[in-house]
């Protein structure tokens, strides 16, 4: 009986101490973590819509979009967070479209869990760069090798599934945002 008590007390004590320490560490770090997450989205917004001076958050259904304005307070375009399933986890990407919703101005992958060294390359500059200036009016197409037609994206060697997932996510969300904005104007 005394043995049982000692065991219970030891485990309880360790758990309580551990909880207390972690609560303190969490309090110290959570501010930085939140700032990092916000910074990440903010940085992405400015990079997908170059020339943005200010942005305004707007609710879009249950989600949100960012109306971006330049230094003359004119609407430059809309940025939004698109997300969907990748090869093994959700991919989150910030997409920028111009004010007429006709062109993609840029994309920036902010969260993913693709295979390091392969699918993870979707967040590399050269891959994201390909989306810049493509038409938002027609679907994007993924090809292996050099693109030779309009609106084609070159897949990452050895990571076609991740590349395809990103293209699909962007196609779908661009369509959604166009539908939403159209509905909004009526």
């Amino acid at each position: 009986m005394r043995k049982g008590l000692k065991i219970t007390l030891t485990l309880t004590l360790i758990a309580v101490l551990s909880g207390a320490i972690l609560a303190e560490v969490y309090k110290v770090t959570i501010e930085d973590i939140k700032v990092n997450q916000k910074k990440e989205i903010e940085k992405a917004i400015f990079s997908v819509l170059p020339g943005t001076k200010e942005y305004k958050k707007e609710a879009r259904g249950t989600r949100e979009l960012f109306k971006c304005f330049d230094d003359k307070a004119e609407l430059r375009g809309i940025a939004f967070v698109a997300e969907g399933i990748g090869y093994q986890d959700i991919i989150k990407v910030v997409v920028g479209v111009d004010s007429g919703l006709s062109k993609i101005t840029g994309i920036r992958v902010i969260a993913h869990n693709e295979t390091p060294g392969l699918g993870a390359k979707i967040s590399e500059g050269w891959f994201e760069e390909q989306f810049k200036g493509l038409s938002a009016a027609i679907k994007l197409d993924l090809v292996k090798g050099k693109p030779d037609k309009e609106n084609q994206i070159q897949a990452i060697t050895g990571a076609t599934i991740s590349s395809q997932a990103l293209v699909d996510i962007i196609n779908k969300e661009v369509k959604d945002i166009k539908k939403y904005e159209a509905g909004n104007c009526d």
Binding site: K3, K6, I7, T10, L11, I14, A15, S18, I21, L22, V25, Y26, T29, I30, D32, I33, N36, E40, A111, N113, T115, P116, G117, L118, A120, T157, G158
Partner: protein
């Protein structure tokens, strides 16, 4: 001869150095293989994982060693795991706050440090049976050995798989990356080849008979 050298070295130094070569966790003991294979597609990730694991190992070993006489042996494993999990969570929060890029790269492998058998193994084999200064030396050596091994494996895989080391371009444009090196089979291949190499070097150091001793039918390989 070798025995004589060993006895002359102070015990605490031996606790430290054994993790670097003789009992290197990755190449000699072959423990902690999950992160070893999973995150070493890039040298930087290998190094970061090594350091995160080392911090957890050193901190846990010190705490376990201090309280080794108070923890009832029936619940020692749950106690160690609680202590280890606490430090892993601290590492995870710290990386998210200060190094968000590395935290993003390592993803789920940071929380998985909790179940790295290298850490639990050192608590069971060493920290729970030895005074704190020796436990700390042991953890430091094992952690350093683990970190160096992961960084080395990461460098080999990154060089062959992407032509870079620590993201610096090493091989020219003419080099066609071996994609397989970045995938799990590539991890096994490079680990196996490096293990073989280390075995050859180790045999050389032990026998001083050369890297490839002649086969003696009567005695077998020495």
């Amino acid at each position: 001869m070798r025995q004589a050298i060993v006895t002359k070295t102070p015990v605490i130094l031996k606790d430290f150095t054994k993790g670097l070569w003789q009992e290197n966790p990755v190449f000699r003991l072959l423990i902690g293989m999950c992160p070893t294979l999973a995150v070493t597609s890039q040298a930087q990730n290998g190094l970061a994982m090594g350091l995160a694991t080392s911090f957890t190992l050193i901190a846990s070993s010190i705490v376990v060693s201090i309280f080794r006489k108070l923890i009832p042996k029936e619940v020692r494993i749950p106690s160690y795991i609680l202590i280890i999990a606490t430090f892993v969570t601290i590492v995870s929060l710290y990386l998210q706050a200060k190094f968000p890029d590395i935290s993003k790269n390592l993803g789920p492998y940071i929380p998985l440090i909790i179940v790295n058998c290298l850490i639990l193994g050192r608590q069971e084999v060493f920290a729970s049976k030895n005074p704190t200064h020796r436990a700390a030396a042991d953890a430091l050596g094992m952690g350093l050995g683990f970190t160096i091994s992961l960084a080395a494996l990461g460098m080999v895989r990154e060089l062959l798989g992407s032509g870079t080391i620590f993201s610096f371009k090493v091989l020219g444009d003419g080099f066609r990356p071996w994609i397989i090196m970045l995938t799990p089979p590539g991890a096994f291949l490079s680990l196996g080849l490096m293990l073989g190499m280390i075995n050859i070097i180790d045999r050389f150091l032990k026998t001083k008979k050369g890297f490839f001793p002649k086969f003696d039918a009567k005695k077998g390989r020495t």
